[in-house]
Symmetry: C2
Subunit: 169 residues, 2 copies
Amino acid sequence: MVTHKPGTPDSQAADSQAAESRAAASRTDPLTLEVVELIGSVVARYYEEYEIAAGKHALTGAQARVLGLLSLEPMPMRRIAQKLKCEPSNVTGIVDRLEARGLVERRPDPADRRVKLAAPTEEGLVTARSLRESLDFAREPLAELSRAERISLRGLLRRMLGQDAPAAP
Amino acid sequence: MVTHKPGTPDSQAADSQAAESRAAASRTDPLTLEVVELIGSVVARYYEEYEIAAGKHALTGAQARVLGLLSLEPMPMRRIAQKLKCEPSNVTGIVDRLEARGLVERRPDPADRRVKLAAPTEEGLVTARSLRESLDFAREPLAELSRAERISLRGLLRRMLGQDAPAAP
DNA sequence: TATTGTTATACTCTATAACTATA
DNA sequence: TATAGTTATAGAGTATAACAATA
């Protein structure tokens, strides 16, 4: 691997790929570095807001995340673990505590008696909605953008997630 | 601030504030909702990448975060707690484990004998650099943006963090 | 008296392994 | 036998309260 430093032209094959040279430039460009740092700050802020919102309902972050998931669609314990990217054994405790709070209930799955479907109660749905609205800090600045800017931002976010094939140069 | 949204004249006080009506619109506009969801995904992805990178060095997320902090500047235990937004008592254990791994050391503060300054070792600095580079997934798509787009993105991120006074319409 | 760092304690989240009841 | 959920256990992060050393 021959990472290239801009302003140091080299007769080697270092910049045979445009992507590689762009990546190298992004490691020194002050504007890009600032944006990367801002993204890090937004990520930290996002988590912080979420934890605070969860705390206001006397929930932990993990409990709030599970409740948010179930508010979209009831699902088996196993599937919750997949969504959370954790071991299934952990979900037992988290759902236990949500159930003790009356925010979630376990239902049998008619199709497979091994499966337990976790579903939000009425109160759980209300709490989940409140939690979702606590992320307004991310939405409000978006409303100030033009439609073209929002579309551009959507494209960027998709590329960051690898959902979009990067256009060939 | 009583700017009015044109096209929706209402005798009530519902849209007496432009910001309020923009916020309301952002809760129903499909494009905005999609972008909000994408931001959530990027946040999750960012954390995931960080945890994976930490794991490759047999570190937990909290340990990696502290090491990253100290790699910028040695600091008292108390200050680490402020940065992490946690209680000072927790920092003791985290730094204990980093110290046991030889990545961090505690030094006396000449100016105040109550204070212990946590500082990275040589190996700690190398590890911190490696961790920082693992966030490339966020930087690479940025390199594909034009300078104007990056500046626009920077403005958006600053607004999300409340670092920028929103421009009057 | 106030502050810094630590210890002790309790709770939650996490992974691993073993167990049960179904399939 | 294979899978879904649980239990048991241990390590780590977190908040709270109490403590020693220093200011």
